[in-house]
Amino acid sequence: MPVITYREALRHAMDEELTRDPNVVIMGEEVGQFHGAYKVTEGLLAKHGPKRIVDTPISEAGFLGMGIGSAMLGLRPVMELMFFSFYSVAFDQIFNNAANIRYMSGGLINCPIVIRGPANGGTNVGATHSHTPESIAAYHPGIKVVVPSTPYDAKGLLKSAVRDNDPVMFMENTILYGETGEVPTEEYLIPLGSAKVMREGTDISIIGHGRAIQMALRSADMLKDKHNINAEVVDLRSIRPLDEATVLASVRKTNRVLLVEEAKPFCSVSAMLACIIQEKAFDHLDAPIRRVTSIDAPAIYSPPLEREQLPTPQKIFDAALAVLK
């Protein structure tokens, strides 16, 4: 099976969907002539032409709103946010218009738009460019939120997102763009809302999404090597829809839970998961649920400190031991 990067996997997904459906259009800042700020869309302009690959001005509220309007008419725009952090400039368009238009029209309208881009910290770009708004997006009924952590998932989930008839916020990660993994050449789709057990285990469930999952896998290796602990690692892959069944099955199997994520702790995805788990699997818990999140402050610039603000394999390792104590 070919080994490609997360970035290439995303590009292949868009390329295939552009070829399949003439209503798919890629829009965003620097997606065409510049080849994408992070080179995700590199080569798509040359192959598909300027009608399908559209460079926008720096005008997120304008072009995202325009994409939403065009989606109401049946286009399938895939809008790139150079940084997902810039979503806040278009907050009204996303959360009043895309999220609510179906509801407020009594189901007469739907909005098949994908808004994608990197949503992560850890690259020393300061608080304005390091937002991780999974929980903020998923808070809104009408919106779907997807966070792939591997090249395979990035491709299969993005293709499903493009075909989805509801608005999907697709959150990537600049640090993962260069990560490689096996991705088949033949077409496949991954349904939104299906979590994946990345590593089977019996002693503790480490559950999360995004790059934190890659850290959790390293922590699981350390737990095995140093303490012969078998940690199960569950990647949510999709926040809304949420695969509660896979999460709860893992909890019932290991009886101990550590939740990990790169976002801040307050009102986060892990906070919601902890609520769901205590409500639906309380009797299966042998210890309190613990979490590893980013330290609760705006993203600090200082490189060594930012590393410590975010989850690390060591922090996840330590927290897992605390759950098992």
């Binding site: 259009v25 009608k51 926008t56 001005p57 005008s59 509220a61 304008g62 072009f63 995202l64 709103g65 325009m66 994409g67 939403i68 309007g69 065009s70 989606a71 109401m72 008419l73 049946g74 286009l75 009204d92 368009q93 009043n96 218009n97 238009i101 179906r102 509801y103 407020m104 029209s105 009594g106 189901g107 007469l108 309208i109 739907n110 098949p112 009924p141 009408g142 779907k144 499903s160 075909r163 989805d164 008839n165 509801d166 789709l189 349904p191 939104l192 809302g193 299906s194 979590a195 999709s238 809304r240 829809p241 949420l242 695969d243 509660e244 069944a245 919601m272 769901i276 409500e279």
Partner: protein, 365 residues
Amino acid sequence: MTKKTPSPKKTEVADAGYDARQAPINAKLGPDEKIQFFRDMLRIRRFEERCLRSYQQGKIGGFLHLYIGQESVAVGCCSVMGDNDHIITAYRDHGHALGVGMGMNELMAENFGKYTGCSKGKGGSMHYFDPSRHYWGGHGIVGGQVPLGTGLAYGLKYKGIKGACMTFMGDGAVNQGAVHESYNLAALWDLPVVFIIENNGYSMGTSQERSSAGESLAGRAAGYGMNWAIVENGHDVYEVRDKVSRALKLAHDQCKPSVLEIRTYRYRGHSVADPDSTYRDKSEIEEYKNTKDPIMVYQNALVTEGVLTEELIKQIDDSARAEAETSAQFAEQSPYPTLEDIKKDVYWEVDNPQDKKSVGNLFFD
């Protein structure tokens, strides 16, 4: 900060001898069409008066933004819509909805929060929709619909459809960033959109002089290299039709956007909750009513022309009142949505389970 002296309004020099009645689009009108415009305007007014009564009776919740005084704008604009033209507006949306042919029953029921409403009682007065009539709302956030209208125009052009999107906003919207971003995109990419500013003089309780810099609102289009015009006599349905149809033609034939500023006036407060006692004199309202009321002016013109008679006027008025009354009864007798309906129409997938592709939980307790 020194108090800003209101800049003198730029005097619009009307084309010498301009007579909107003689414009080609109006000159060809037959009596039936003229009567229809009159009927449409009167229907909007009687519907809204009935809405107001229902609101005062406690039947309608939330806000109620009445269009009374502005009827010539919606009727004039909708009357020049072609088969491939689309329309989107803000929250003062009753006139446009009736203008595109939506029925009073579904609108009144929506105001009452009933399941028979055009949005099943989920949108309310500010959020009417009927995509089958190319009517895309009905939007509550000032200026927020303007990028959507631009996107509808983008979609038309992308699909190779020769149509345009009339994108309405109030004079209060012109200072929102989303509006300027839309102007830029429309001009940059030659999108077939007609931005229509219904300038009723007040953004809620703040007059144009107190909110908007520059001499004219539409004139800001010049900064984007866009065509623009002012419809000075927005109370004249003929002038509205003439100027708007020209902008539509520019969009259809050359795929060029325009900004039109239609000067109009609302008689009621910003919403019914606005006591309308702080920012304008009652005399101002009375003067407009007495000299420029769009229905009265048009009625007088048609009587002079011999198109309307007192008898016909009464018949049309009685019919409009009866239709509005019937809609209130319809709304009253209609059922509310059920608790189960709250979670419907959120996700397309959930409403179309046969085509559902995702798994997992979309809703949470």
